[in-house]
């Protein structure tokens, strides 16, 4: 358990963190609603509800010049890295003003301006890209770190092995962060991984193992991520495993199994937003007025994002053929 009294973050920063976590939650809820209302299209919509503390905690440990890359469950990660919420929502709507011009969709959110290198929908496919981006930092000796999010399911394809091994032999500044939400689609970790303590894979690559962290607790994630980022910056790649939980189905349209309902209740007792809120109250007994402002502020941001998305133009025939080549 992390010792919150030791945090170096200021009260204002902590409120901002909490605001971001609430924003992610409400953004995702809105996406679900709009998907069900068929305003957001596509076959896939993978929500980040439940995992907010992991994404926000880890990204908070980075400098703005550091890099983030992830898989298709990318909305929350993009928000945490500072991508424009309006343009993220516009991408959901397939609008021209979307971060990816309406061509990428929910699974492919990138914003080069904030060094969010994208969501990638081929399981494991972004791992060697992370290594390549880190190679740039190593090559130029610029001290930048890459934070790469990995699903538990993604630890079982060849990309994981090849990319982690390459990062180790080249001493690349990568923080590999496994978001173990217990499932890859419907398959539990114990069914798909011979060694279900996924962080132990680090040993096989001679890589620094940062162990398991409670991915529902912002402070716990932030603390270990800070150490990991610092280690990666100076000494090479590291592996962390955060235990977390997704509240929705794999995609919003997938059903949730009975077993998962009970499991979910256990996790929801440690809901990242609730945990954060109660810790803030314990740290700052007079914080209530600031907390009370968060929901209305978030609601306004989400509402404005939806309006922006709805009012934005759709891509044109010209857009269809643009940017195939440089």
């Amino acid at each position: 358990m992390s010792d919150v009294t030791k945090t170096t973050l200021t009260r204002a920063e902590l409120i901002e963190v909490y605001h971001q976590m609430v924003l992610i939650r409400r953004f995702e809820e809105k996406c679900k609603e709009l998907y069900n209302a068929r305003k957001i299209g596509g076959v896939y919509l993978h929500l980040y509800n439940g995992q907010e503390a992991t994404g926000v905690g880890a990204i908070k440990a980075l400098k703005p010049t550091d890099h983030v890359i992830t898989a298709y469950r990318d909305h929350g990660i993009a928000i945490a890295k500072g991508a424009d919420v309006k343009r993220l929502m516009a991408e959901m709507f397939g609008k021209r003003t979307g971060v990816s011009g309406g061509k990428g969709g929910s699974m492919h959110l990138a914003d080069v301006n904030v060094r969010m290198w994208g969501g990638y929908a081929i399981v494991g496919g972004h791992l060697p890209l992370a290594a390549g981006i880190a190679l740039k930092s190593k090559y130029n000796d610029d001290g930048e770190v890459v934070l790469c999010f990995i699903g538990d399911g993604a630890t079982n394809n060849g990309y994981f092995h090849e990319a982690l091994n390459l990062s180790a032999v080249w001493d690349l500044p990568v923080v590999w962060l496994i978001e173990n939400n217990l499932y890859g689609m419907g398959t539990p970790v114990e069914v798909s991984s011979g060694q279900p303590e996924l962080h132990k894979r680090a040993i096989a690559y001679g890589m620094k193992d940062f162990g398991r962290v409670d991915g529902m607790d912002f402070f716990a994630v932030y603390e270990v991520a800070q150490q990991a980022v610092e280690y990666a910056r100076t000494s090479g790649p590291v592996l962390i495993e955060a235990i977390t939980y997704r509240y929705e189905g794999h995609g919003v349209s997938d059903r949730i199994y009975m077993k998962r309902v009970e499991e979910m209740q256990t996790f929801q007792q440690r809901d990242p937003l609730v945990v954060m809120e109660s810790k803030l109250r314990a740290m700052f007994p007079d914080i209530e007025p600031e907390l009370a402002q968060v929901e209305p502020s978030v609601a306004a941001i989400v509402e404005e994002a939806v309006r922006f998305a709805e009012e934005s133009p759709t891509p044109t025939a010209e857009d269809l053929t643009r940017n195939v080549y440089a």
Binding site: G104, V112, G118, P128, A131, N165, L166
Partner: protein, 326 residues
């Protein structure tokens, strides 16, 4: 302009070396490219000259080699990755097709991917089924990545330089049988042949032979034989399968009204299929005879020399095909 008579392997080596001297961001990575001097000796002496930062030996990790090249290119370096032979590029297929070729489009132009993947190609010499592929057309199928395959040492130098200087991903295949064959090569370090520009390797009047790579040699031999019998062949080396120089092919066809397509690769869904389809779509009014294709036979390549050669195209087969349509 000064020229030297050097083998294709040396022409490639010169191109790569000159580009590394010209641009600090250019580096090579791949299996055995450093201490071993390169499987095909194209990077001979590079480790001593440029050091381990820019000459990077990799593990046997095709997915990671291609994927890390994508990430490094997106981040601003200009990787030239070597896949030992094209046979092993099947393991890198996802990284090349889903990532190298698509990230620019998918994120609507936020990233460039200035990378080159070099791979030795070609069958024969009893290399057997798994080690005898010439699968260029498969890789050229997808928009977003260029594909070049030089037939002469001079082309090899000029085309590789163009590939390295271009901001798009390029798969560059090098015919193993042509590595030792010499030809005149300009010394000029700025000798660059534009991407997508084909070349008339022999001018003629009666039949157009469209080919690339090793097919150029067979086609020129056949044209020589046929010339003695009074048949004049125009041999077009497309050099690039993508972008394809259709105007050059059409211009020749308007003159000859006959076409034979020569490819070292397999006949189904092939280079030949594509050119034939393009001709009937756009040149139907100029067509005086059926289009002929000379390809490898539709079998995996066997070991025994006698039947291996039966399956492969050669100059005799080209001569026979031309005779069928004049």
């Amino acid at each position: 302009m000064a020229e030297k008579n050097i083998p294709m392997r040396e022409a490639l080596r010169a191109a790569l070396r000159e580009e590394m001297i010209r641009d600090e961001r250019v580096f090579v990575m791949g299996q055995e490219v450093g201490a071993w001097d390169g499987t095909h000796k194209v990077t001979r002496g590079f480790l001593d000259e440029f050091g381990a930062r820019r000459v990077r030996d990799t593990p046997i990790s095709e997915m990671a080699i291609a994927g890390a090249a994508v990430g490094a290119a997106m981040a601003g370096l200009r990787p030239v990755a070597e896949i030992m032979t094209i046979n092993f590029a099947f393991l890198a297929f996802d990284a090349l097709i889903n990532h190298a070729a698509k990230v620019r489009y998918m994120f609507d132009g936020q990233f460039k991917v200035p990378m080159v993947v070099r791979a030795a190609t070609g069958w024969g010499n009893q290399a057997t089924a798994t080690h005898s592929h010439t699968p260029e057309p498969i890789f050229a199928h997808f928009p977003g990545m260029y594909l070049g395959c030089p037939a002469t040492p001079a082309d090899a130098k000029g085309m590789l330089k163009a590939a390295i200087r271009d901001d798009n991903p390029v798969l560059f295949t090098e015919v193993i049988a042509l590595y030792p064959k010499p030809g005149p090569v300009p010394d000029d370090p700025d000798f660059v042949l534009p991407i997508g520009k084909g070349d008339i390797k022999r001018a003629g009047e009666d039949v157009t032979i469209v080919t690339y790579g090793r097919g150029v040699e067979w086609s020129l031999d056949a044209a020589e034989t046929l010339a003695r019998e009074g048949v004049s062949c125009e041999v077009i080396d497309v050099r690039w399968l993508r972008p394809l120089d259709l105007p050059l092919i059409f211009q020749s066809f308007k003159k000859t009204n006959r076409c034979v397509i020569v490819e070292e690769s397999l006949p189904f869904y092939s280079f030949g299929s594509e050119i034939a389809a393009q001709l009937q779509e756009h040149m139907f009014d100029y067509m005086d005879a059926p289009i002929k294709r000379v390809s490898a036979m539709d079998v995996p390549l066997p070991y025994a020399k006698e039947i291996e050669l039966m399956a492969l195209p050669d100059a005799h087969k080209v001569v026979a095909a031309v005779k069928e349509i004049i």
